[in-house]
């Protein structure tokens, strides 16, 4: 199983390398540190949400409501910060509380009432998003607190271009990487992490060996809520404005990125490194198109083809392997028939 996963990641990595070579051949600006930092910064928002999606998919579930959760956490937090003041740390804390509560509601409904995750989260998405628009009246917030601006400008590593302009690794990217490392650690080295794989692989067996399926389910959706809320704040940091309708509608793209990274919708499979590559693949397609001066209208066409080709070829491979096992069994059957005849 592990080898198969490793194969998938190498495969996605291969596609990324091929794309990178093509893009660099057309526009050498692609393969610069500056561009790389730029991609990593602008995709931190998607990437952080993708961590949460990965956890949910591994547990065998799906979440459609996270974009709504992210928006609510973002909007309410900025409102709170504007009313009572605070700091960046307070903003993250407040967003996390909101995100975890909204996520846990999903987890509770899914576990307690056995409602399919896709239905629950579509319903809560409509509920959360509808209420947000009603109470916010769709108003944008432009005047963010000053510390949102200062924080967004922090660079962990600062370099200078030939012209002497500063650029570097944004704090937002660093946050994304720290979250990925922590999540990978959680998934691989803790009892809880292994339980998530167990529940996704086979919930009934997991229950028999003593995993609390209920706790795992509530945890993954609450965790999804937490990641969504952090992503919401990151979005506010990147855009320096809060729009109640800017994130909702992108949920399927994030799920697609995670699935491209090898996570299975059936559960039990997926890694943080694969997820990172999946997010990067779509990010590089988008960035590369801009650099190759392909009109932006073609973006969806390419993404659609990447999804169909990539998921299609891995499904086809699985199908072929399945056929292979049938052929393997066949030579065994004649002797058995002979035995019966004797």
């Amino acid at each position: 199983m592990k080898r198969l996963l490793a194969r998938h990641e190498t495969y996605i990595f291969g596609i990324i390398v091929v794309f990178s070579i093509i893009i660099t051949a057309i526009n050498p600006n692609f393969l610069t540190l500056e561009n790389a930092f730029d991609i990593l910064k602008s995709n931190a928002f998607t990437g952080i949400m993708a961590i949460g999606v990965l956890f949910v998919l591994i547990s065998g579930g799906i979440d459609i409501s996270f974009a709504a959760t992210a928006t609510i956490a973002e909007y309410l937090t900025v409102l709170i910060c504007l009313r009572v003041g605070g700091s960046m740390l307070f903003a993250f804390f407040s967003a996390l509380v909101i995100g975890i509560i909204l996520g846990a509601v999903n987890g509770y409904l899914i576990d307690r009432f056995a409602v399919p995750p896709i239905i629950t989260t579509i319903a809560t998405m409509n509920l959360y998003y509808g209420l947000l628009i009603v109470f916010s009246k769709g108003r944008w917030i432009y005047a963010l607190p000053q510390y949102f601006r200062t924080f967004a400008d922090i660079r962990v590593i600062t370099l200078y271009t030939a012209e002497g302009l500063p650029y570097g690794l944004s704090i937002v990217t660093a946050l994304w990487f720290v979250l990925m490392v922590l999540s990978a650690g959680l998934l691989f080295y803790t009892r809880l992490g292994r339980s998530i794989y167990a529940v996704g692989g086979d919930a009934i067996s997991a229950k028999r060996v003593g995993v609390s399926v209920k706790m795992v389910r509530i945890f993954v959706y609450a965790f999804m809520g937490a990641m969504a809320s952090v992503a919401g704040i990151v979005q506010a940091l990147l855009v320096q404005a809060v729009a109640p309708n800017s994130i909702v509608g992108k949920e399927l793209n994030v799920i697609a990125a995670v699935v491209l990274g090898g996570a299975s919708l059936a559960g039990g499979v997926g890694t943080v490194s694969g997820m990172f590559l999946g997010v990067m693949l779509l990010a590089i397609v988008q960035n590369g198109m801009t650099l190759m001066r392909v009109p932006a209208v073609w973006y969806d066409v390419f993404v659609g083809l990447v999804i169909l080709f990539s998921v299609g070829s891995s499904s086809w491979k699985v199908k072929k392997e399945k056929v292979g096992t049938f052929i393997d069994i066949e030579p065994l059957s004649p002797p058995m028939v002979q035995e019966g005849g004797r």
Partner: protein
Amino acid sequence: MMRPLRLEKKETSVLVGIMILVIIIMVLANPGTFLTYTNMKGMAYQLPELGILTLAMMVVMISGGINLSIIATANMAGIVAAIILKSQPGSPSVAFLLALGACLGVSSAIGLLNGVLVAFVEMPPILATLGTMTLFNGISIVITKGYVISGFSPAVLYIGNGMLLGIPFPLLIFLLAAIVMSIFLRKTRTGFSLFMIGSNAMATKFSGINNMAVLIRTYLVSGIYSGIAALVMISRFNSAKSGYGDSYLLITILAAVLGGVKSEGGFGNVSGVVIALITLQVLSSGFNLLRVSSFLTTAIWGFIMIAVMVTNFLIENRKTRGAT
């Protein structure tokens, strides 16, 4: 042909109960405005779009799949039809027939592609249709460059806005589509196999049903229904554009599930879905009369969805507890 595939009685009665409750509340909340000809007519014109799309979603959900590309298919087919109508090849009636044929042709082709990806390549339906959704949304944007194509002849506008024998024409299309779907699901071999595949695909495979053929036909039907929805949509908006009705996508899943279609597959019937659609429409029109934001209506749809699923769970739970 066997017909063991009815909704459980209790679920249907919960559904009808909710519908009646919602109607009573809306009549009481809007005295003198809800039960008027204007309001009824408004509802009759609004319901078909979502209704036909929900039928397109429902048929694949019964097979245990999902079709995220219905809206993208409808927009793509609508745009192709609109382009033909605008370029006016030959007389208006020739252009109309050509557009009609192209609309259904494009939508069936996309449906067929979905079917092949799901049944032959064996991609998970949610990903296959997410891929085709993105792809055809993209192609629509490339064709139209993101602009609107608008202004059609009266014959086209009649589809979405006309009236026949005092009944709004789109409602007639919806009723016909619902009846045909009901016949397809209950009286044809493919329809019957579809329910069986949704319940247990392995079992149907070993009982000699050609799963691949049935699934491909299912996605084809879903595509054709998206094409019919496209005709109603371009006519009602008097224009075509990529991205029209995007917000309907997840609502069709809600409407289907509210109508008793199981997202795991194997269960569902047209009458349940029609009742669910009427409920949603009454809510939306009623709130509109009360001048409530349409987003609050969406929120309430979400809430009702959860309430129904929880109620069904509790009923089910009591039944099994009684049995043991």
